[in-house]
Amino acid sequence: MDCKQATEMMVARLDGHLDDGSTVLLEAHIGACCSCQAEWRSLQRLDDLLTTAPMVRSPVRLRVQVMTRLQRREQARRAIVGSTTLALGTITLMLLLLAPVLLDLLRMVGIAPTLLSAGPETVVQLLALMRTMGRALLVLLETFVTPLAALSLCSLALALALSRLWTGAVSRLRTES
């Protein structure tokens, strides 16, 4: 047995993984080798130092800190989900309301090449196009002031206010409990 093997066996012995036969061999080597004797002593000292060291107790505030951070993170997450839902809802509503106007506009884009290649009649047709666009703009404005659109926007705002109130009440209840 060389000294390197002996050190490996010493570590195995500290962990209780050395069989009886190997333990006898190791002890014989330690008895005959001064440097291994010193190494075994220092390994035992280290093992004793680490084995007897107690756990470091956590600060009492740790649980409260974790829970506070968790609540803040959940609130932030809810705010992001809420605002994304609101934004998506508004976009969908706007698209639904503006769908007829958008379809008209798309149709106009479709006939644009014909207008350009029509020669002298282009000016007349261009005027017609501008008139149509003016009408489209009027429809757009009318849509905005339609009672139905105003009602939808109001209910959206009401839903937002209620959800905020609800979130506030729930987090207050959680903090109290």
Binding site: L46, L50, P54, V56, S58, P59, Q65, V66
Partner: protein
């Protein structure tokens, strides 16, 4: 496992189930049950109270986020310790990178009890013992700080958590033979350092 242990496991399983469905109170109970083991690990790894506290908080928050991926067949404690160990290993690697980028001469590790003496989880009989315990605590942290992050985690899990080589391997994503050789090398080096300290009379003041 005695009857008390069985009750604890049942209760713990319920807490985990409830926490999984978003119950903060149940998760709070898990934090309460495991705060000292998690904090001890982060403290042994990072070596100072402020960073250990922050890391322990982060480990619990990560555990909450990934609670759905937790396999109930595995002990919750091992799963939690794996999260805390990996977080601390990352922090230590990042810390080393920061040091290297500053090119400072940082050969001596910082005082491990800087920022307040640590509270040890044992009943100490008298003030003299408190002093000795604190000196030993400093000595242990100084020794641990000389190890690489992964070796530090392996030694901590072996000595403070009575983990087997297999459990350490699973926690740190290593092979069992890699754990054996890391633990062998780490303890050989630490014993040498301890011996040198003893010769220089640095370890404890009489």
């Amino acid at each position: 496992m005695g009857p008390g242990g069985v009750i604890r496991v049942i209760t713990e399983t319920e807490w985990i189930q409830q926490a999984r469905s978003g119950d903060h109170v149940a998760f709070g109970r898990l934090v309460q049950a495991y705060q000292t083991p998690v904090y001890n690990l982060t403290y042994r790894m990072l070596g100072n109270a402020a960073e250990a506290e922050e890391a322990a908080q982060e480990a619990f928050l990560r555990a909450y986020t990934h609670l759905r991926s937790y396999d109930p067949q595995r002990p919750f404690r091992s799963w939690l310790m794996a999260i805390a160990s990996h977080y601390c290993i990352d922090q230590l690697r990042r810390r080393r990178l920061t040091w290297l980028s500053f090119e400072d001469e940082i050969a001596v590790p910082e005082n491990p009890v800087e920022g307040g003496l640590v509270q040890l989880a044992s009943d100490l009989p008298n003030p003299e013992s408190v002093v000795t315990q604190q000196e030993r605590a400093v000595q242990i942290q100084t020794l641990l700080s000389t190890l690489s992050p992964v070796d530090r985690a392996a030694v901590t899990l072996l000595y403070w958590y009575d983990y087997s080589y297999e459990e350490i391997a699973e926690t740190l994503d290593l092979t069992v033979s890699a754990v054996k050789s890391r633990l062998y090398r780490a303890r050989r080096d630490l014993a040498k350092l301890l011996e040198e300290d003893g010769e220089n009379g640095l370890q404890t003041s009489d």
